[in-house]
């Protein structure tokens, strides 16, 4: 399958690496809003093009993987590009997914293309597991824990505070809460009881550290509802010890079965990731593969991870799946 990458940040670079690990995928071109001359990619056979030139590749690309931000990029980019390409994105603003779906579906259907939104791990693999587990155990309770991992959004929120030069925010699941869930205790957990937030902040020289710490801890939505710790460190320490983008988490469903609902069943799907964007990209590539196959079977319009049979995600022949994986 011939792949285009639209946007070459952390995620776009991850997609390129994932393509290198999958012999059935070929990177045709990277599209960037920057000056193409300044963008160095890893694949010698692929082109770097201006984003504006994407239409020149209309018949040269099977799937265009859109690696933009969910806040402002994807709501515009994905529907627009779905008019001319089969597309896939990792739109992750959960509350706006139905609206985004509708827009992309219309654009794709009207033009005979296929699209898949919100691929990755959450939304993505976590969603698939929430759905399967709730179908298997209709009487039960869902828990999603995130971390320990870097939240880009929360790190950015700290960076916007006056006097802050750089920051990393780690979302940390409360181990004791997870253990209660895994033991089948079905606890009711408040936001504060599920996760803590650890902030590592580089402040400008002479900045009012007390004010910065207070602004972080009281920030509504982001930090106010959590137990938050703030640690001021040097730029050197940030670069030495907080340069990675790890993440992960667990989706747990606890449910009951039996005549008198006397038996507890617990399903957990757990990720531990050194690189959030590279793993997200690896998931996206599987769904790109599935999308090409679904399109070949005549399917069009917007899809999600819920519509994809596991078989279509894998490059293995079906006979091999039956013999070795079933």
């Amino acid at each position: 399958m011939k792949i285009g990458i639209y946007g070459y940040g952390n995620l776009g670079r991850g997609v390129e690496c994932a393509i290198m690990q999958n012999p059935d995928a070929e990177l045709v071109a990277v599209f960037t809003r920057r000056d193409p001359e300044t963008v160095k990619i890893l694949t010698p056979t692929a082109k770097v093009e201006k984003a504006d030139n994407v239409l020149l590749y209309k018949d040269k690309i099977d799937v265009l993987i859109i690696c933009g931000g969910s806040a402002t990029d994807l709501p515009v980019m994905t529907p627009a590009l779905a008019e001319n390409f089969n597309v896939i994105d990792s739109f992750d603003t959960h509350a706006k997914i139905p609206e985004h779906f509708k827009n992309v579906d219309k654009a794709a259907k009207e033009n005979g293309n296929i699209a898949l939104i919100s691929a990755g791990w959450d939304p993505g693999m976590f969603s698939v597991n929430r759905l399967m587990a709730s179908a298997i155990l209709p009487e039960g309770k869902d828990y999603t824990f995130w971390g320990r991992g870097v939240s880009q959004g929360h790190s950015d929120a700290i960076r916007r505070i006056e006097g802050v030069l750089d920051a990393r925010q780690y979302t940390v699941p409360v181990e004791a809460a997870m253990e209660k869930v895994r033991a089948g205790e079905n606890p009711e957990l408040s936001t504060r009881e599920k996760h803590t937030r650890e902030c590592f902040v580089v402040a400008e020289e002479g900045a009012d550290l007390e004010r910065i710490e207070n602004e972080i801890k009281t920030m509504p939505n982001y930090f106010a509802d959590y137990d938050t710790t703030v640690t001021f460190i040097s730029m050197e320490e940030l670069k030495a010890n907080h340069n990675g983008i790890p993440h992960g988490g667990s989706v747990i469903r606890t449910g009951v079965t039996g005549k008198d609902k006397e038996n507890k069943e617990i399903i957990e799907y757990k990720l531990k990731l050194d690189s959030n964007p590279e793993f997200t990209a690896s998931v996206i590539l599987c769904y790109a593969r599935a999308l090409v196959r679904m399109k070949e079977r005549g399917d069009t319009g917007c899809k999600t991870v819920f519509d994809v049979a596991p078989r279509d995600m894998s490059a293995l022949p079906y006979e091999e799946m039956l013999a070795h994986l079933l």
Copy 2:
């Protein structure tokens, strides 16, 4: 969907309980090889019928769930019943799945029916997770650990030894091995290093306990390759403390991503089950739902869990999935 249960042992009873938890499913009849008068079921509106009368229900059942054993029942039953019904089974002899698939596919296709084999958790949910994880992380290593749980096959093997009245065998994963895998160490693990086997045995009065213990520990395929412990207990203790059918386990894939494959990513799917047959039955019911939908779309022949989109497993409307689970 109208369901028939063919075979009313632990699994069949589990399916009946699962139907009671799913309002879109209705139990029409249970088919048994025993005298129907002697079989008491929980569903007042359903019939108990002789297995031989199953054809009378040809147009009254959407899916027939075949709850027989994999050794001798299912290889015959599933292809035969697929000639007249949409069927689903939990065939779990991994090595013979390709052959079973072929036989069921032929019978179902020739008669315009749809079938799904090997539903449950292994094969079943574990298989789905092995497939998805290996697709996402093409360069990696798979581990499956089972237990702590009762192995019916191993318990039966002990019961066949002279002087044994009853027995329970627990398959126990080696915690230290699992921790190495979860830490991303990619260990090479022998059979002995992955699982131990705990046997609780009720012997006849005056039986030669040393001989029994030795016969168990040296039994080829079942125990010889494992560290096995044998504990003799009374029938009372067996009934009091070993009456449940718990099981579970973990499918773990560790893989690498990145330009220089410098990042480790770990995916784990974990089950902790109070009742192995009831959970298996709950999974089967989801795939029965999917099968009815796939048939309505015109699909026929033999399928596996690999062919089923998560969406089709759930009773929820798609809009609700998008809004709340994605």
